[in-house]
């Protein structure tokens, strides 16, 4: 395992996120920056996938259920070679292959269109069920937001994944503790998170979501579980840019050119 390379990829991803959001003039920096290490580890170490053959039937699959964090996914796909890096500057613009939320019909490498919270999680379950019916080796990875846990559909999906013992399903919770209107615990408390997932029949791990070794280790352990696995990743919203970290204001506002320059200097260090 090349930790230095994964760290470099994470840093490159953070730069690309800031650059593309500044260029787009809108989008979601906070939750994009909080899941950088998770998505980096998945695309550059954990998942079996072929950028030159996106439809490879036996591939592992990643579903970004918190679709608004797509700048992170778009960066990982571009850095993997699914499409040229030059597309990142077209994010959210008319005619771009990079829509404001993930669209499987326009972007190579996007497994399913998301953006309406809660829905991607059920779809991931369907994919895991299909792989199991066909005895495929594919593992299905899905990333949820903490605010997303407030959607009832998430718990319907959680129940059914446990009921059908979808051990090939690994979920991450990007637990950055903030949502658009404020702190998750003030808007609609989701704690006790670990107990909730355990009681719904999932194997639960709790990690530092910015620690590459912990992410990889948790994914490896999930492979040998007989249940679906939830990895609660404690993260910092806006991670890597001091003036964005832990600030709810940065949920859905793009940086200006000046703010972006300031942010890029910090990421470089």
């Amino acid at each position: 395992m090349d930790i230095a390379n994964l760290k470099a990829k994470a840093k490159a991803t953070r730069r690309l996120i800031i650059e593309m959001l500044a260029e787009a003039g809108s989008g979601h920096p906070g939750g994009s920056l909080s899941c950088v290490e998770i998505i980096t580890c998945l695309y550059f170490h954990i998942m079996r996938h072929r950028p030159e053959e996106p439809d490879w039937p036996d591939r592992d699959r990643f579903i970004l259920s918190k679709g608004h964090s797509c700048p992170t996914l778009y960066s990982a796909l571009a850095l993997s070679g699914y499409f040229d890096l030059s597309h990142l500057k077209t994010l959210r613009k008319l005619g771009s292959i990079l829509q404001g939320h993930p669209d499987m019909l326009t972007t190579p490498g996007i497994e399913v269109s998301t953006g309406s919270l809660g829905q991607g999680f059920s779809i991931a379950g369907g994919m895991a069920l299909s792989a199991r019916i066909d005895k495929k080796p594919s593992r299905i990875y899905v990333l949820l937001g903490d605010g997303e846990m407030q959607e009832g559909q998430v718990w319907e999906a959680a129940m059914s994944a446990a009921h059908y013992r979808l051990s090939n399903l690994t979920a991450f919770l990007d637990y950055n503790r903030l949502q658009i209107d404020g702190r998750v615990e003030d808007i609609m408390a989701v704690e006790p998170v670990r107990l909730k997932w355990e009681s719904f029949g999932w194997d639960v791990a709790e990690i530092d979501g910015h620690n590459i070794l912990e992410i990889i280790d948790a994914c490896e352990k999930a492979k040998s579980s007989s249940k679906p696995s939830m990895i609660i990743a404690n993260t910092i919203k806006g991670k890597g840019v001091s003036f964005m970290e832990g600030k709810v204001e940065w949920h859905g506002v793009a940086p200006t050119k000046e703010e972006a320059e300031k942010a890029l200097l910090e990421i470089e260090i």
Binding site: L105, S116, Q119, I123, A128
Partner: protein
């Protein structure tokens, strides 16, 4: 006249399909005994999945299964399967044109005694506005079987709307998505119907014939895409159109016909259906009469049209 419930025809068609197509999987939400998907479950337990009383999640699982090459049939009662799940159908299924087949039973007020919570009279209107969606309302068991097979051949989301009651067997000709058919020809007025109302339209025609009025009856099982050619022909060849459906007059067959003809061949149209209201408990026969969606009401609409009174 032989009678069969369209849901029974669905259950049998699924069994046939399950034997010849290994990609068929069936999902239900604790209604498998009523929707008849339970018959498939018994023969193919490894390809049947019960999701309990959680329709939205079931629809999302269907989307995921279709993305891996399965052909999921999703079933429940129409009111839950089309409306509780609505945004999932929109965003998870229709947006990406996924190959999910939604077959819902107990549609309309002929579900009867269960009352308004279970009487879906808005589902066609709700689903018709979704891009990529195809909507079929079969008139009987024969047409149901053909529609189910046609849905498998069609790539993309399809909604097939079935009833609880036993329908008389009326149709014989080939079924093709998007094509309507003249069942009985006539020159005075055209009655365009779908589902159970095709039978009511034929009853009305028989009575009207005795009075010297000769109406055309068109079976229009595909509500979307609508058969524009047939509509224009009926508008040109007869004196007006009466639509008949077991659905609200807002959003369903009547609306689809009106939208099309107002643009291509403005014509006087009278709509038989629920008049912007919820149903109540009662027997199917009582309810069709009370809400004026029976053959008598169709006849009255024809009279008023011939007398020029809208």
């Amino acid at each position: 006249m032989d009678k069969i419930a369209t849901r029974d025809a669905y259950g049998k068609a699924l069994l046939e399909l399950g034997r010849i197509n290994k990609d068929i999987v069936v999902l239900d939400a604790d209604t498998s005994a009523s929707t008849r998907t339970g018959w498939f479950a018994k023969e193919f337990p490894e390809r049947f999945f019960n999701f309990g009383i959680a329709e939205a999640n079931m629809m999302g699982y269907a989307a995921g299964l279709s993305l891996s090459g399965k052909i999921p049939f999703v079933s429940s009662f129409a009111v839950f399967g089309a409306l509780r799940t609505y945004e999932v159908i929109r965003t998870s299924v229709c947006w990406s044109n996924l190959n999910v087949k939604i077959v819902l039973t107990h549609a309309g007020i002929s579900v009867g005694e269960d009352g308004p919570s279970h009487q879906s009279v808005e589902d066609i209107g709700a689903l018709r506005v979704l891009p990529n969606m195809t909507i079929i309302v079969p008139a009987d068991g024969i047409e149901t079987r053909k529609a189910i097979f046609a849905a498998v051949e069609h790539k993309g989301p399809v909604y097939i709307r079935l009833g609880r009651a036993k329908f008389p067997l009326l149709t014989e000709a080939d079924f093709k998505i998007g094509k309507a058919r003249i069942i009985e020809d006539g020159k005075d007025v055209t009655i365009i119907a779908c589902g159970l109302m095709v039978f009511e339209a034929l009853k009305a025609r028989e009575d009207l014939l005795k009075e010297g009025i000769n109406v055309r009856v068109v079976n229009m099982p595909t509500i979307k895409p609508i058969d524009r050619e047939m509509l224009i022909a009926c508008a040109e060849e007869t004196k007006g159109i009466v639509t008949a459906e077991e659905h609200s007059i807002i959003g369903g067959l009547g609306s689809a016909v009106s939208e099309c003809l107002s643009e291509y061949k403005p014509t006087l149209i009278k709509k038989i259906g629920l008049k912007d209201t919820f149903g109540i408990s009662g027997t199917p026969e009582e309810l069709l009469k009370k809400f004026e969606i029976d053959s008598d009401s169709i006849k009255k609409a024809v009279y008023s049209m011939l007398n020029g009174k809208p």
